[in-house]
Symmetry: C2
Subunit: 360 residues, 2 copies
């Protein structure tokens, strides 16, 4: 592979002049520039990043560690695909900043993380982003002091800057909108209890009920997800069955994510209930392959992954350029409710009707 010396010789100038043409950091005569450019084209010269980096000590690399790519095979349970949008958001910002994103995948095995970090440090990345598969707490090995890091979709004990989804507000907004549509018996099929999002979203669900002065009925909140997929359908079926047999059954099922909603569609229909005319369904994630493809399309809450990625990358760039002190608090990013055909607004019940009458 041609070097800057080859180019210099071919163009009859010094290597430094070639360097100047490459970087435009000092004036070069027109004739000289043309000669150099011609020589570069002729030789198919591409500068070596390694050599450049040695002198300047700036790699222009940002490291990204994720389980996104592999997670999809092993663990279909959790979010899966959408977090890729996180990577995409990060890519957007990093690309704009002129740096190069180096993506490494854990292959789903956390024990590989230290090795990946080591590889990145060897390449002298200027910063690091760790992307988790779903909202969770993590514990990462310590980095060298001069490599800043940002956590995306996760957080830790030691105050590493983090970017998180606003699960509480998301669920709140959805339930509030359902209530505005006349729903008062709102069932909630939650994700596994040990997931961070579950607690936050339940809180959001209760927030919305409280605001509307609707009673909280524990019988309407049940876990619909298992750690492994076998038997999950049965659990869901039972939970739905129990709720539908209540004295006042729910008019809408909120699901912990769109994947559960997909299952719920199947279960409800095999019980002969039409969505949405007889029963409404809502999801969470705005996992578009599911939400937009389902028939009818699914009302859901968007997990603002792209925005989170953008935010994470921006924070990292901020840390790298080191302008001022960064606010150490995590960034909480909310996503909008995506209102689609799987939920009908109901004729308001007695109480609401009274209200409306009053308003008229």
């Amino acid at each position: 592979m041609a070097t800057i010396y080859d180019v210099a010789k071919a163009a009859n100038v010094s290597p430094k002049t070639v360097s100047r043409v490459l970087n435009g950091d000092a004036p070069v005569g027109d004739k000289t520039r043309d000669a150099v450019n011609a020589a570069m084209a002729e030789l198919g010269y591409v500068p070596s990043n390694a050599a450049r980096m040695m002198r300047s000590n700036r790699s222009g690399l940002i490291g990204l560690i994720t389980g996104a790519i592999s997670a999809t095979t092993e663990n279909v349970q959790v979010a899966g695909l959408p977090e890729l949008m996180l990577v995409q958001g990060i890519q957007q910002i990093i690309g704009l900043s002129g740096k190069t994103l180096m993506i490494a995948d854990t292959g789903g095995r956390l024990d590989r993380v230290p090795g990946l970090i080591d590889t990145f440090v060897r390449h002298r990345v200027e910063g690091l982003i760790y992307v988790a598969e779903y909202h969770q707490k993590v514990q990462l090995p310590r980095l060298p002091d001069d490599v800043p890091m940002v956590l995306a979709n996760c957080f830790d004990d030691v105050g590493t800057p983090a970017v998180l989804p606003d699960d509480r507000r998301g669920q709140h907004d959805l339930v509030k909108r359902l209530i505005a549509g006349g729903h008062e018996r709102i069932a909630y099929l939650t994700l596994r209890e040990d997931i961070v999002a579950t607690g936050l979203r339940k809180a959001g669900y209760r927030d919305a009920l409280n605001e509307a002065r609707l009673p909280y009925d524990p019988a309407l909140v049940q876990c619909g997800e298992l750690a492994s997929p076998e038997g999950e359908t049965q659990v869901l079926w039972d939970a739905i069955d129990r709720m539908l047999r209540l004295p006042v059954p729910p008019t809408v099922f909120c699901c912990g994510n769109d994947r559960l909603a997909l299952k719920v569609y199947g279960i409800l229909r095999s019980r002969g209930m039409l969505v949405p005319s007889e029963i409404s369904v809502a999801g969470y994630d705005n996992y578009r392959v599911i939400a937009e493809t389902l028939y009818p399309p699914l009302t859901t809450v968007e997990l603002p992954y792209t925005a989170m990625g953008v935010r994470a990358a921006q924070r990292l760039i901020g840390l790298i350029s080191g302008e001022g002190r960064e606010d150490p608090a995590p960034s909480i990013v909310a996503g909008p409710v995506q209102w689609r055909g799987s939920v009908t607004d109901r004729r308001p019940t007695n109480v609401s009707q009274l209200k409306i009458v009053r308003e008229e």
Copy 2:
């Protein structure tokens, strides 16, 4: 960041000795080694890949270009997620070989590919893999002669080594299995006509019919996908409607991919037809989030993405080590049929019954 000179000074040895400890390429005294290791730990020393690469001229990097990560948002139509498994398969092999995979994403824009290739060449990658979103023909800019490349899920005009899915055989195997289950009127809702896979799979469909001496009825083969999602449901609905009104309607709908199958579930059910007792459905891709979550779970053909990734990486490693001449022919990888609950074996029809009677 500490250098090998700092470590040498701290351990009172020469830099070269530190290098020897690092690489184990020459004997070092036990006491010396301990001192060096202690110094490295003390200083938090991590060797610089850039410096190492300059001398050895071997980067240990493999470049991977993909639209996988971004494709998911823009273009929910095509395969989308599963190709990530391709990346995963590649990762597996590359990791094993001790090299580092550098992943770059096109952000869905093909015009960025030359820039990404340039970045890779600057980093002196030892080889390059291009992953396409779905089985297609591509045209890539020429690389420097000494950088080998492998195409995954795509092919080109100029004989670049490629790894492709065996669409023809996959569809054949599925239809053959359906026929074995007693189905004789097999509808096929294909993907868009301009997709490479469509032609191959149709051929596979006919292969299976021919083998079984079943007639080919063009009325049973219709395109069910549009370039944009709006109106697609309508197209599907019409196609299904037309087929179900045929004098001898189909007993099973094969869909161009699992996403279409998901739509077909919804449409069939809203027509009051139960899957699979009244009508069977099959997909393609084994897009597990859909196929395993649907109720009932979807029979489909696996697109052997992981295996393709493995194969692609192996071919690249072969090219890099340059042992012998590589076979330039594309590798065609077949995937198995995933038999799940969405297809019932039918009571055999007259002809088949006769056969069974004879066999008894």
